[in-house]
């Protein structure tokens, strides 16, 4: 599939929620191990900033800064759990707002933390099978509006953001192979249970409950079993990386840079050490963003490029894992 990642940009909500703000609200956590998660600030979407707005801003930034002729965008993939309407697809609305050509195809993809790599595969397939020249991938999350005000752990970890990636036709395939996986039996480990088809909102949806650490949630709010997700990541990610390298007939030493989904610096550092990856070849990017769900990997790609850590010609392993539970990995040459 002859595709490559040509460019990335990202957009953030206007309002910051810093660690100073957090510890002013939860002074009992100052000096606690929560700071090992590695986040210092995160941007939080307000009521008038929805996911597609952020995605649109990221798209405009990318198209304008890279002088992309909008008539040459042949497909939009909008990846978010936040859709503007039940119908039509939000990608259709974005196509209109960007004033792209009528030949431009559109599709919404609902998936979470693992979805960037899934979307790269889909984009590559669209280029290969549908003859697209350029695919504009937009990832966006405003998950924080579902986090309970007293869910201290997740309020510390998560931020909102959107990213735009231009995937373009290339002479040779620059992305791949791919590894995907799902553990659907564990779907409840990361969930917002009520408010959709299976469990509509009821009065009991907002009945609060607390975990053993004093984090409060309810069925209408975001709920993540942190221990289960740590174990899942520990159990799943290293074999996925080995599987991917085996498929690519490469070793870890052939990879110039590892960019993982960024849920928690402590978790990622544990994975890095477990897999014997040198710190200078493993990119962290949580400090100023938090866990931005679908956008962590493209934001990290952009930040790594700006920091001079990702240069043209490098071979980068991208790995996503999380809600589903699901996981995905690929190797991209830049």
């Amino acid at each position: 599939m002859p595709a490559r990642i040509a460019s990335t940009r990202y957009a953030l909500p206007k309002t910051a929620y810093t660690n100073a703000d957090f510890f002013a609200e939860f002074p009992e956590l100052k000096g606690s191990s929560i700071e090992k998660a590695g986040v210092k600030r995160r941007q939080i979407a307000q009521k008038d900033e929805i996911s597609s707005d952020l995605a649109l801003a990221a798209a405009i930034q990318l198209l304008d800064e890279e002088n992309i002729d909008r008539s040459e965008i042949d497909f939009i993939l909008y990846n978010s759990a936040d859709l503007d309407y039940y119908t039509p697809a939000t990608s259709c609305v974005i196509q209109g707002k960007l004033d792209l050509g009528a030949q431009c195809g559109t599709m919404d993809i609902v998936n979470g933390c693992s979805s960037y790599v899934y979307c790269l595969g889909i984009a590559s397939g669209i280029i290969d099978t549908m003859g697209a020249r350029n695919v504009l991938l937009l990832n966006s999350s405003t998950l924080t509006r579902f986090i309970h005000p007293k869910d201290k752990a997740n309020r510390f970890l998560f931020g909102d953001a959107a990213a735009a990636t231009l995937i373009t036709r290339s002479e040779e395939s620059m992305i791949g192979p791919y590894v995907y996986g799902t553990d659907g039996k564990s779907y409840e480990k990361i969930i917002i249970r009520d408010g959709f088809a299976r469990f509509p909102l009821t009065e009991s949806s907002t009945t609060d409950r607390a975990d053993g650490y004093g984090n409060v949630t309810n069925d209408a709010s975001f709920d993540m079993d942190g221990t289960a997700i740590f174990l899942f990541s520990n159990r799943t990610v290293p074999p996925m990386i080995e599987d991917l390298l085996s498929k690519a007939k490469l070793t870890k030493e052939d990879i110039d840079l590892f960019i993982f989904h960024q849920p928690n610096v402590f978790l990622n550092e544990h994975l890095r050490k477990k897999m014997g990856i040198a710190p200078e070849r493993f990119f962290h990017c949580m400090e100023n963003f938090g866990n931005t769900v679908q956008s962590t990997i493209p934001i990290a790609i952009r930040e790594a490029q700006l920091a001079g850590k990702l240069k043209p010609g490098m071979r980068v392993l991208l790995a996503g894992f999380g809600t589903g539970l699901s996981w995905s990995g690929t190797i991209a040459r830049f």
Partner: protein, 78 residues
């Protein structure tokens, strides 16, 4: 099931930065340098991957020493 000495050595390796031999059966695990709830996750992961035993936060709250944790894992493994 590993001996407690081997269990302690594996725990030292997983926690990273702990001098070899510093974790003993009588060590109060909460007094291991830099111990935090994050390290509890690593210990729980070790129990699962090395011994196929599910350890919970509640289990750890009831334990004090490395021996206590080892005994829980050993009893569940058998």
């Amino acid at each position: 099931m590993d001996t407690i000495e081997i269990f302690g050595a594996k725990l030292e390796q997983e926690l990273d930065g702990i001098p070899p031999g510093s974790i003993q059966p009588t060590t109060n695990y909460r007094e291991i340098p830099d111990w935090s709830s994050m390290h509890a996750l690593i210990l729980i992961a070790l129990a699962e991957t090395e011994y196929n035993v599910a350890l919970t936060g509640e289990d750890l709250r009831k334990c004090n020493t490395v021996q206590d944790i080892y005994d829980v894992i050993k009893s569940r493994k058998s």
